[in-house]
């Protein structure tokens, strides 16, 4: 691994002003990535560790462990270079810089195809929740290890009986000496097996209270009362899990927000999740589709060109929409809007790839088709996770456009 002698872009020591202008910051970030981002095909290359499928939960777990190790190491390097949590306050491990600096870093990550996606809950949802609802002690305790790449987080929200309708969560947290005891079953929990903590939604009031009876907790995942059972996804990956909670313990200071404030915390969490999915460093599937058509020598076909152009239009307009949101334009229901556009883009681009690939898409062991099959089998989950497409449409209609419930 080659390390750069270029000054870390985040270092302010010796700098004239505390925060330089956008162009200057961009320049320094680019330079740092140029010297430090993993090269395609190198052992640190993120695309190489992307977890595709596995024959057994154990094999998946090993791949996942490897992926998380690489992600942790990368996050640590970002941290050491002063590029992690630019906008977070210093006492939380950040730099108190303007928000756009995080966007610059994210954009450069996207450009290089390196991602901290496995840490998305920790890096996006946890700070949103803690800055919105947590105590100072909680921020100082939980956030710095996240920035240093030490702690991964997952979300324990969905249950067999509570998917889109999260107000009907029935996992229960009962007060006990020094904290709470949690019992119930969660499902579809992404990355549960490799997370250190979870954002947990549990019932602290009665069933009849509905959403008013919910509270949010920070739950340590490594403890006796937690049983994690991987579930196999259609792609062959064991990405999400069933999580059985049997008198799992949360200390008193693990309650996030007030008792019974779970719904408000959840809304913050889901909003940041939508924004993270819709606004994040999306896979450049249009660019890759164009590359695929060129490789296959079918890029002169007008039908193929039309598919390529449609993908380019979806991808660029979504990027531009994000840029408008960042520039302060009023976009009703911005989070659900970008999330839905992103899931549509993923679905339609994977579908376009099947048209371009032809028979090759029937073979998983064809190196050209493999990454597209992965996307093809990943896209259905994107339409569900983080709130289904239908729920996003409801939210856009009701909160964005003001239609009656």
């Amino acid at each position: 691994m080659q390390h750069s002698s270029a000054p870390a872009p985040g270092s302010t020591a010796g700098g004239p002003a505390q925060f330089e202008g956008r162009a200057q910051f961009e320049g320094r970030v680019r330079e740092w990535f140029g010297a430090n981002a993993p090269r395609k095909g190198s052992p640190e290359d993120f695309s190489a560790v992307h977890v595709v499928s596995a024959r057994s939960p154990q094999e998946y777990h090993e791949q996942e462990e490897h992926a998380i190790t690489v992600t942790r190491a990368w996050q640590r390097r970002l941290f050491d270079a002063g590029l992690a949590g630019r906008s977070w306050p210093a006492e939380c491990g950040g730099h108190g810089a303007p928000d756009w600096q995080d966007e610059v870093v994210a954009a450069e990550q996207a450009r290089w195809g390196v991602s901290t996606k496995m840490f998305a809950v920790a890096l996006e949802m946890v700070p949103a929740v803690l800055f919105g609802h947590g105590t100072h002690e909680q921020r100082v305790a939980y956030l710095p290890p996240v920035l240093r790449g030490e702690h991964g987080w997952c979300q324990l929200l969905s249950e067999p009986g509570a998917g889109s309708d999260l107000a009907s969560v029935s996992t229960r947290a009962t007060p006990m000496d020094g904290g709470w005891s949690v019992t119930g079953q969660k499902v579809w929990t992404s990355n549960a097996g490799c997370s250190d903590y979870a954002l947990l939604i549990a019932r602290t009031g009665s069933r009849e209270e509905g959403r008013a009876g919910l509270s949010c907790f920070a739950l340590k995942m490594e403890q006796p009362g937690i049983d994690i059972r991987p579930l196999r996804q259609m792609s062959g990956a064991y990405h999400f899990n069933e999580v059985f909670l049997d008198n799992a313990f949360v200390p008193e200071n693990g309650l996030i927000g007030g008792l019974g404030d779970g719904w408000a915390v959840l809304r913050t969490m889901l909003a940041s999740e939508r924004a993270a999915i819709g606004g994040g460093t999306s896979a450049r599937s249009a660019t890759q589709l164009v590359g695929l058509a060129r490789q296959l020598g079918c890029s002169d076909d007008p039908g193929v060109r039309d598919l390529l152009a449609q993908a380019v239009i979806r991808e660029r307009t979504l990027d531009l929409l994000r840029a408008r949101i960042a520039a302060g334009h009023t976009v009703p229901a911005a989070g659900p809007t970008t999330k839905l556009l992103y899931s549509e883009h993923a679905r339609l681009s994977a579908d376009a790839a099947t048209t371009i690939l032809g028979m090759a898409v029937t073979l998983v062991d064809d190196p050209q088709s493999a990454p597209w099959i992965e996307r093809l089998l990943f896209a259905p989950g994107l339409r569900l996770g983080g709130g289904t497409d239908e729920i996003q449409r409801n939210t856009i209609a009701e909160r964005g456009l003001g239609l009656p419930r």
């Binding site: 195809g113 164009v290 060109r305 979504l318 334009h329 839905l340 209609a397 239609l403």
Partner: protein, 385 residues
């Protein structure tokens, strides 16, 4: 690219919207649809004079305001929202951009001040019977020197079709062929040998004419045979301009559909509470916001005179043209029976959407062009890693 509007641009939007709310309400649009000229000269004088719209993007030396394309886009978005019946696209976008682009100083001095102060209506006569905007080789109109005017005079012969505001423009900028290639020539609409036939347009808020030239006296603009690259750029600017207009129209019909869905009651509840309706409107919202993003990107690219204007123009035109047609179509569906009546404004927007989708290239054409650019771009640049 920072897509933030300045305070002046936001104020301009407010001013234009207030003005158009007063001067271009639906009743006025309907009145003008039935007139022969299809626009209100008084309103045009005010637009040109008080609001300075006609000369908005023209340099100050020609009586213009020296603003950029973003400002023009703001005006067009508002104009599209209110279906303004006025020769903005023909005079301000097509003709003025062509004159500026050709770089003929004398012609600019002669014609642009009249455009800026609203006294000259002008248009570009490019398309012929096939209705194609991109087909340089297909242009058959010819220009020839006529020996008059100490050998500096020219004549033009041929037939132009789909000429925007061709029935009212006094200055016609005609694309014609000589041995040297394509040139643009200025022709006085009242000159001998000019025969104009107004056509009955699907979109009655924007008119067209066929124009036949029979050895009509003409003035060559710029260099002989050098017009096509200039026109390509003009068409890109026009595509961006019409995209901004389309966004205004699409957003307006979405508002219309949302308002109706909130108030129309069936089965004892507002139809907007039915998910089939909600989801349709949510999808239109995605289309409108995507289109707006593409259009604004086009405006900023044009304003900054950036090299990827062709790509930005195709992105904008491909995206906005379809988004508008979809929104206008579904707006009618949400309205039910009333939506297909003449009385209801929904069809006015549907007609504008369909006719403006064809202008300066259909989305299908722009998608082909976009794919060409992106393929070339990818062939030229290696990925960073």
């Amino acid at each position: 690219m920072n897509l933030a509007f300045t305070q002046e641009q936001t104020e301009l939007r407010r001013t234009v919207r207030d003005f158009l709310d007063k001067t271009s309400p639906e009743a006025e649009v309907r009145r003008l649809m039935e007139t022969a000229d299809g626009y209100d000269p008084d309103v045009w004088r005010q637009l040109a004079g008080e609001l300075g719209i006609a000369g908005l993007t023209l340099p100050e030396e020609y009586g213009g305001a020296g603003c950029g394309f973003v400002e023009l886009g703001v005006v067009l978005e508002e104009a599209g929202r209110s279906l303004l019946c006025a020769p903005v696209l023909s005079t301000v976008v097509l003709a003025a951009s062509t004159l500026l682009g050709l770089g003929d100083d004398a012609a600019c001095h002669d014609y642009l001040p009249g455009i800026a102060d609203g006294t000259t209506l002008a248009t570009l006569a490019l398309t012929e019977a096939a209705g194609r905007w991109d087909d340089a080789d297909g242009i058959t109109a010819t220009a020839a020197r006529d020996g008059q005017d100490q050998g500096r005079g020219w004549t033009v012969s041929g037939r132009k079709a789909f000429v925007l505001d061709g029935h009212t423009a006094s200055l016609l900028l005609v694309v014609a062929r000589t041995g040297a290639g394509l040139s643009v020539l200025a022709i006085d609409a009242g000159a001998p040998g000019v025969h104009r036939v107004p056509r009955a347009t699907l979109d009655q808020t924007r008119r067209q004419a066929d124009i036949t030239f029979t050895a009509a006296p003409a003035r060559l603009l710029g260099e002989e045979g050098a017009a096509w690259p200039v026109l390509e750029r003009v068409l890109d600017l026009a595509a961006v301009a019409v995209a901004a207009e389309q966004v205004g129209g699409a957003a307006r019909v979405l508002d219309m559909a949302v308002d109706y869905a909130r108030t129309r009651v069936q089965f004892g509840r507002p139809i907007g509470s039915f998910q089939a309706v909600k989801h349709k409107l949510a999808d239109l919202h995605l289309g409108v916001e995507s289109a707006r993003s593409a259009a604004y990107h086009g405006l900023w690219t044009a304003a900054g005179d950036l090299p990827d204007l062709p790509l930005a123009a195709s992105l904008a035109k491909a995206c906005c043209g379809d988004a508008y047609v979809t929104a206008a179509t579904e707006n009618i569906q949400v309205h039910g029976g009333i939506g297909v009546t003449w009385e209801h404004p929904a069809h006015l927007y549907l007609k504008r959407a369909h006719s403006s989708r064809q202008l300066f290239g259909h989305p299908a054409h722009h998608r082909q062009r976009l794919a060409r650019y992106v393929l070339a771009e990818q062939a030229a640049t290696a990925s960073p890693a």
